[in-house]
Subunit: 193 residues, 2 copies
């Protein structure tokens, strides 16, 4: 029960922060969305900041579980897995009318200059995303799908960072184009060099 | 004098919004930074939203003027102009300890889902940035610096969008790496295909 309440607050609060940002989301709004009294909130989170930091872990876990499912699919080659991940995110954002964006990217943009605690946690979360792509690129190299001289770490870093930019553009474009443009340049130029 | 006061409010407010975001910046804070009374603010701006929208124009003009100076430099080839622009932004962000990021990208991320008025204005501002690179890429194609089959519009769109992602990463990295990584992938993979 205790774990359920904590999870309920995290899920509802994460969705509001995902859409509106951290600073623009009031504690009161999170409490109202979950129907949990303030005192109960403080049983699970020391402060709004502590809550925000735990929301980052919540999102990092979500990414890992979405990616993990695709990575375990043995019917796909490593590059097909990367394509499937990007396509999966495209479907997700289409279903959300191209709102939200990546919560890790959003919070990096909003909080990177304002809070060292957020910055450190977001860096670790972004590094985990990079690691996911790096692992797939190393497999792709072994499988001969990409050139042996393509640096897996640098390329993974570029995929994640340029993806975050595509999502920024998506939020004003309200369409698939920036995400498709990102995938095309990664596959047609970086992978097929 | 009238124009000066308006400009003074715009400059000071733009800097605060650039660092803290639109929603997290109070009107009171802008007034304090400029030393202008509330009544005077409303002589120039109908509302905080109207101010925010004019701040977007302010930043778009700033980008155009920075880019314009480089574009007019006849000693540089078109691709050298693109390199100079990216290097110039790197120097700027280094001098700011890798804070701030691109105000257009920041506001797109923050306001894209929250305000149709911001969305429209930001889309126009981002399109102008794309146009700047598109023009240089068309000249680069004519000069034979890039392959004739590289689509100038799509490529310019990718440069701007992936650049915004590099800046998101910069804000948690607090270093040059994401900006250098962006430039390297654009020049080594997209341009030299």
């Amino acid at each position: 029960m205790r774990q359920n309440t904590r999870q309920k607050i995290l899920e509802a609060g994460a969705e509001i922060i995902h859409l509106k940002g951290y600073n623009h989301t009031g504690l009161q709004e999170i409490l109202q969305a979950t129907g949990v009294p303030k005192g109960s909130f403080y049983n699970y989170f020391r402060s709004k900041e502590d809550f925000g930091l735990q929301v980052i872990d919540f999102f990092a876990d979500l990414f890992a579980s979405m990616a993990g499912e695709i990575i375990r699919d043995e019917s796909l080659t490593p590059l097909e897995k990367i394509a499937r991940m990007l396509d999966g995110f495209m479907d997700f954002f289409k279903s959300k009318d191209y709102a939200y964006g990546c919560p890790i990217g959003n919070l990096a943009q909003e909080m990177g200059d304002l809070s060292p605690a957020f910055r450190e946690k977001l860096k670790r979360a972004a590094d985990k995303m990079v690691d996911t792509y790096r692992g797939l690129l190393e497999q792709a190299r072994i499988a001969g799908e990409i050139s042996a001289d393509l640096d897996a770490t640098e390329t993974a870093y570029f995929i994640v960072s340029s993806w975050h930019g595509a999502l920024v553009r998506m939020k004003i474009e309200k369409g698939q184009k920036p995400l498709e443009n990102h995938k095309r340049f990664i596959f047609d130029y970086v992978f097929r060099r």
